[in-house]
């Protein structure tokens, strides 16, 4: 990334190869619409290019996820404004039904995840699905490691209950 911030855009290809699937999956867990996820992922790379000078060293993954997260919240706010009658949850639910037959297990996880609020879901997705460590998440969301860890453990406990409820139903 250092080379990109110095103006070498060819290094962007390398960054894209390394992060595009991860970012796409992060969004896919949050939004569930592949087209929207692709657009969001694309926007992350655009922002990386545009704001390359604001990268002042440090863990690059944290920086790029910070951008990804901000873009997600922008998108989320827009969705909220445009959807007067349908909540995101409803849209997500509808989409889920299409995939239930094929991937039953995943659908349960998703349903459980969808029962969480956006902030909690985001933490679980980053930590459990993306495999980002607590200290890095703390950096991304602007908190401290202990608080993030405690929070994630609490969410997992809550999720466990939700998950087995959906399994039972």
């Amino acid at each position: 990334m250092q080379t990109v911030s110095e103006g070498n855009l060819d290094a962007m290809t390398y960054i894209f190869e390394r992060y595009n699937v991860r970012l796409f999956n992060f969004y896919f867990q949050m939004v569930n619409d592949k087209d929207v996820c692709e657009d969001l992922t694309q926007n992350v790379f655009l922002k990386v290019i545009r704001y390359k000078h604001s990268y002042k060293g440090g863990k690059f993954a944290s920086w790029i996820f910070k951008i990804a997260r901000n873009l997600f919240y922008d998108h989320y706010q827009q969705q909220k404004k445009t959807q007067d009658f349908e909540s995101i949850e409803d849209v997500v639910g509808e989409l889920d039904e299409d995939t239930t037959e094929k991937e039953e297990e995943i659908s349960h996880i998703k349903k459980a995840l969808n029962s969480l609020n956006t902030k909690d879901r985001e933490l679980i997705v980053m930590n459990r699905i993306e495999g980002i460590k607590y200290d890095q998440i703390a950096e991304i969301v602007g908190s401290n490691t202990v608080a993030v860890k405690t929070k994630i453990h609490r969410i997992i406990k809550k999720l466990r209950i939700n998950y087995f409820e959906t399994l039972a139903s």
């Binding site: 103006g7 855009l9 962007m12 290809t13 894209f16 595009n20 699937v21 796409f24 999956n25 896919f28 867990q29 592949k34 996820c37 692709e38 992922t41 694309q42 790379f45 655009l46 290019i49 297990e105 995943i106 349960h108 996880i109 459980a112 679980i124 459990r128 699905i129 994630i152 453990h153 997992i156 406990k157 999720l159 466990r160 998950y163 087995f164």
Partner: protein
Amino acid sequence: MIHCKYIENNMVDYIDRALSAKESESIKNHITACTTCKKAFDKTSILMNSFANEPSVQPSAKLKTSFEQLLAEEKAKQTKVIALTPKKSSFKSFLQIAASVAILFTGYLIGGYQESQNSKQELMAFQNEKKQLKENMMLAMIDNSSPSKRIKAINYTEELTTPNTKILQALIERMQQDSNSNVRLSAAEALSKFTDSELVRTSLIETLTTEKDPSIQIEIIQILVDIQEKRALAPMRKLLEQPESPDYLKTQVHIGIAHLI
């Protein structure tokens, strides 16, 4: 003895194998003994396994192509930006501005100078023209049959500072030969301004001998006395000897001679 609450709090780290060997061992022992904790552990493990097993979804090829397009666009922009802002541009453009200002200013000065030169030349040409016109008018009018026109022509010469010989000769001719005494008097008065000329001086002395009108004679005597012309003494003494000279003329001649000697 470990409390169930402790197990619950460290469950995730235990499954993540993030605890020390000693801690892991004690939790393991508790779980095998406590059914509640065993249940919670089993459920958490299943949940966390499902997370781990969540397959990674591949974005479509569209993402890569649109990224490549984006990158190409950004590259083009970057090169454009570089081309538009060369490093020395600010200094260079400053020089260019300074040079253009200097050129403008010099242009203004040259223009102003030329303009004043032109107007000066025009004014001089105009003045010369005016002078020429007056001279011509004077020469044309001086031969006019009307005495008043001739006097007017003579008066034009008052405005001339350095009349040419042609004008002076015309004036002398009027003073010596004009039939009208008023014209002759005016001509004499006009000539009194140009006594620097030797031609005028000799003609004045000459007129003193030929002129018969006492008023003109007195005028000429006064002019000659003013310029202290000693050559006028001889014709003046002659005037005293002439029997037809009136007394008042003789008195003036006496005064004049007294001034000259």
